[in-house]
């Protein structure tokens, strides 16, 4: 659990600093979301706290103050509730969860910050969520093998 906390902290720092360096067409993966989904899925009781803490951290660098904390908390809790009712080790399930949560997060944040449009959906949100899903699935594999 300590390892996961440190990892989440590192991911938060990376998300607000250098992750822009791996942007493809201005789109970056949301590795904080991926770690919140992972924690909710495999450590259900603490997922909610990981969601709240990392969301609050992201909010410090965000123009939509408070919204990231709310969405990540709901995601952490929601995935935690779901995890007790499903078999977790299916990669397809990881893809669905990452994609769904990423979509909800980005749609809400865009709606609050810029106003949602079909253009922003096609240009930023969907590519961003796909990028997050690909990176997140890779991350899930590594974390499962490391037994974190």
């Amino acid at each position: 659990m300590v390892g996961l906390c440190i990892l989440a902290g590192i991911f938060c720092i990376l998300q607000v600093s250098i992750l822009r360096g791996v942007a493809i067409a201005q789109v970056t993966p949301d590795i904080v979301l991926a770690i919140v989904v992972y924690t909710g899925l495999f450590h259900e009781k603490v997922g909610i706290w990981f969601g709240f803490a990392s969301g609050t951290f992201i909010d410090l660098y965000s123009s939509s103050f408070g919204y990231n904390a709310l969405i990540y908390t709901i995601i952490g809790y929601g995935i935690g509730v779901l995890s007790s009712k499903i078999y977790k080790e299916i990669p397809f399930l990881w893809i669905i969860l990452l994609f769904g949560c990423g979509l909800v997060h980005d749609v809400v944040i865009f709606a609050v910050e810029q106003g949602l449009s079909s253009y922003s959906l096609g240009r930023y949100i969907i590519p961003g969520v796909l990028y997050t899903t690909i990176v997140g699935v890779g991350m899930f594999y590594i974390l499962r093998r490391s037994r974190v």
């Binding site: 720092i13 607000v16 103050f65 919204y67 910050e113 930023y124």
Partner: protein, 317 residues
Amino acid sequence: MGKGVKLQFIVLVIICLILIGIGNTGVAPKFQLRVASIFTPLSEWASFLFNEFKIRHENKVLRTKLAELSLRNQMLTSLQYENEELRKLLEFKARESHKLIAARVVGREPGPISGICIVDKGLADGVEENLPVVTINGIYGKVIEVMKEKALVQTIFNFNFRVAAVDLRSGVQGIVRWDEEKGYVLEQVAVNSDVEVGDEIITSGIGSVFPKGMRIEKVKEKNVDKTRLFYEVSLEPACKFSEVEGVFIVKPESIGVGEKLIPETPAWRIYMEAREEETKEEVKKIKKTELPSLPGREEEEFPIEFQVPEPIIRAPE
């Protein structure tokens, strides 16, 4: 999940809603900057490691650019000298110059469009609220909150960001804002205004944050908007602002009449000495020229006296 977790969830959601409430007040930027500055050493360190290679390459490019600009600067120095002389002759009022404070972006909003970012310069470096922030390619944003060593910058991608602008060629005025679909857009330009594709758009100086003359972008295309009263002018982006790492905070500083806008350089000194010699010779020539005396007036000494005034040199910072 037990009742305890449900209770925790409800409490956390309430806290989040309070945070959103705080976000809707003016307190949020101050709070954000104060807390974020605790973590900025970590993000600075991460950025430093990541950017080392990038900076090396950038350094080479900048050296070339610096050489080009130095040459251009030498030409401009001579023009500036002449301009100042003329200003003095016309008794112009003191004009404003600007000091650039170089800063590094140490934290930015995640996501494709960064509406705010944190830079590593603050009150200790002379940064104040509402100072413009620029890159070598154009304006980038403005400072909205300052601490001792950090500042929060509202970037041009922020939905609330606006800057008054003017067409350099025709003088047509408008307001520039960021549109996620069209990029920079120049608004409030009446139909039939003289705006052409390729025109350079600069800040107009209206609004007191951005001084006049800062480059924004060039006109890419113009269309009549839905109301058919205004042009919707799209501007061509000169660089990817999402990749910006280094910025300059522009601090105005007043410069008096006769003071040099730039520190004295060897090239400038040589130019000035040559100019002084030239002027003296010119005066001698004119004095030697025989002018017809006016009827009814006594012959008087030639009244024109050329003097190259001693400039007040500002000590380089």
